[in-house]
């Protein structure tokens, strides 16, 4: 490019108008933002969110108290309370505590669970007013966390 042509380009703000043309073109493309509370974002199946524990058709827990999830958890947020049944020589579940304050949603517990009992579900709205609501016992894990209701 000759120096004269360069100067003309500079005086006519060609470089700035090139960018402006792109911006104007983009103005006619549809918006990509989500209006969150009214519009829910699409969450994929594998998303690791709220922990839940599964029950069978009779409403009995699927957990076999094998303690693998508690062992694999890097943050030690799972406590499995269990007792050995003297007749069957098998462990029976007496309680299960999931401390979500420490959970970092790595998904190791659901990966190792032999009965697919504990799962991290795609539910992602986990904000609570009280920190004690994050220590989940077995009923809360089976039912799901209580939803927070916001006053208008």
């Amino acid at each position: 490019m000759t120096p004269v042509a360069q100067l003309v380009k500079k005086i006519l703000f060609i470089d700035l108008f090139q960018g402006l043309a792109i911006t104007i073109r983009e103005m006619f493309t549809p918006a990509v933002t989500e209006q969150y509370p009214r519009q829910r974002s699409h969450v994929y199946e594998r998303f690791r969110g709220e922990p839940r524990m599964g029950v069978d058709a009779n409403g009995k827990t699927l957990c076999i108290a094998c303690n693998l999830c508690a062992q694999v958890c890097p943050e030690n947020c799972i406590t499995v309370k269990r007792e050995k049944n003297p007749e069957t020589k098998k462990f029976e579940l007496t309680g299960y505590v999931f401390d979500m304050r420490r959970c970092m949603f790595c998904g190791f517990c659901e990966e190792i669970c032999p009965t697919d009992c504990i799962q991290l579900t795609p539910a992602y709205e986990l904000a609570r007013y009280d920190v004690r609501d994050f220590v989940l016992e077995l009923p809360a894990l089976e039912r799901g966390m209580d939803k927070t209701h916001y006053r208008k």
Binding site: G19, T23, V72
Partner: protein
């Protein structure tokens, strides 16, 4: 009395002594985290500079010593949280090297695809914030729009957008989901035109040129001496890329170029990163085409006890060489985990790049080094 010399203070130039010390950060929006830069100023000019780091220290190296080899992996997401998949790959690769685990070819291909997607995501975030620091807000919005597509692919495949925990020792956490290949291809079709668009907005823009050309110049010799790596090194014209120099995973199968700059200034590093995004797209398409069938995970014992020894494994992360040095004493926990992060070494160049420039250029230079404080402080 008249022939005795006056005291030194009286002859020294008064104006030169008046060096102002200015704290930039740790809560400055352009420091991309919590970095405190102590500037010594002569007017607007930088005379000297010191970086104060450590505000984000969590002791990840120490935490890893108290976890099992597999249990420490999710913590590595929290190093360079913009490119979590790369951290996963480097750590898992180091453990595999230590334990002698062979990864199935399909897992290798998916690993390459996910890491290259992360490279694009990391560079997009860099470009957006870097341009915003310099004053081009539009690019930021466009970059985040494309980054969203990558995060969706990551969420679909690994289950999380940021802290992905994507890989396991021996392969992947799960097989690729339905629609992964189509979605990745659709993204690759899209991104080429988008990168041209960013270039149209910035590359010829006179404001962009005057803010980046000749700013933060470092020559090849100095860059190597300081220990720069990644695009910051290649911007100075050094053709060094671990994907070519010491191929890991399946990188030796793919064809791609290593872009380099000529002048070693901020503008060259910008061009190098843009070209890297295009090359990453090329690699992804090749990996998708040649995707082998088979297992996604090798058989690995549940409690991993590698033999006693030490190993160093490094990969080309989006920001440079990311290495893990592991020492095993034969137990289930690593004896020592040492992280060699690229941002920490790239930050060392700050002083040399900034001296002589103005305060406003510090913002551009922090941006061009592409640092992440999560990885510097660990």
């Amino acid at each position: 009395m008249s022939n005795t010399a006056p005291p030194a203070a009286a002859t020294a130039p008064i104006l030169k002594e008046d060096v102002m010390v200015l704290n930039m950060g740790p809560q400055h929006p352009s420091t991309h985290g919590v970095l405190r830069v102590i500037l010594k100023l002569d007017g607007e000019k930088i005379v000297d500079l010191d970086c104060d780091i450590g505000y984000l220290h969590r002791g990840i190296e120490k935490i890893a010593e108290n976890r099992s080899y597999t249990g420490a992996a999710p913590y590595m997401d929290r190093l360079d949280y913009i490119a979590a998949v790369s951290n996963n790959l480097a750590y898992v690769g180091a453990v595999e090297k230590l334990a002698g685990v062979q990864v199935p070819p399909k897992a290798q291909h998916v690993r390459v695809i996910l890491t290259e997607l992360t490279r694009i995501a990391s560079h997009l975030l860099w470009l957006g914030t870097h341009a915003m620091d310099i004053g081009a807000l539009t690019v930021f919005l466009y970059c985040f729009r494309e980054r969203e597509d990558i995060l969706n692919i990551l969420e679909m495949t690994t289950g999380a957008r940021l802290t992905t925990n994507a890989f396991r020792v021996g392969g992947l956490a799960a097989d690729i989901p339905d629609g992964f290949v189509e979605k990745t291809r659709a993204f690759c079709d899209l991104i080429g035109g988008r990168i041209d668009e960013y270039e149209g907005l910035l590359s010829a823009n006179r404001i962009w040129l005057s803010r980046t050309r000749g700013i933060g110049v470092i020559n090849a010799g100095d860059a190597v001496a300081i220990g720069l790596s990644g695009p910051s090194l290649r911007g100075s014209g050094v053709k060094w890329d671990l994907r070519k120099a010491q191929p890991y995973e399946a990188y030796s199968k793919f064809e791609f170029d290593i872009p380099t700059g000529a002048n070693g200034d901020t503008y060259d590093r910008y061009l190098v990163r843009l070209e890297e995004m295009r090359q990453a797209k090329r690699i992804i398409l090749q990996a998708l085409d040649g995707m082998p069938e088979g297992d996604f995970r090798a058989k690995v014992p549940r409690v991993l006890k590698p033999p006693a020894g030490e190993v160093y494994h490094s990969i080309e992360a989006p920001k440079g060489e990311l290495g893990f040095y592991l020492v095993s004493d034969g137990s289930a926990n690593p004896y020592r985990v040492r992280i060699k992060g690229p941002s920490f070494f790239n930050l060392q160049a700050m002083r040399r790049l900034c001296i002589g420039h103005f305060v406003a250029d510090v913002v551009a230079i922090i941006g061009t080094l592409d640092i992440v404080l999560g990885e510097i402080d660990r």
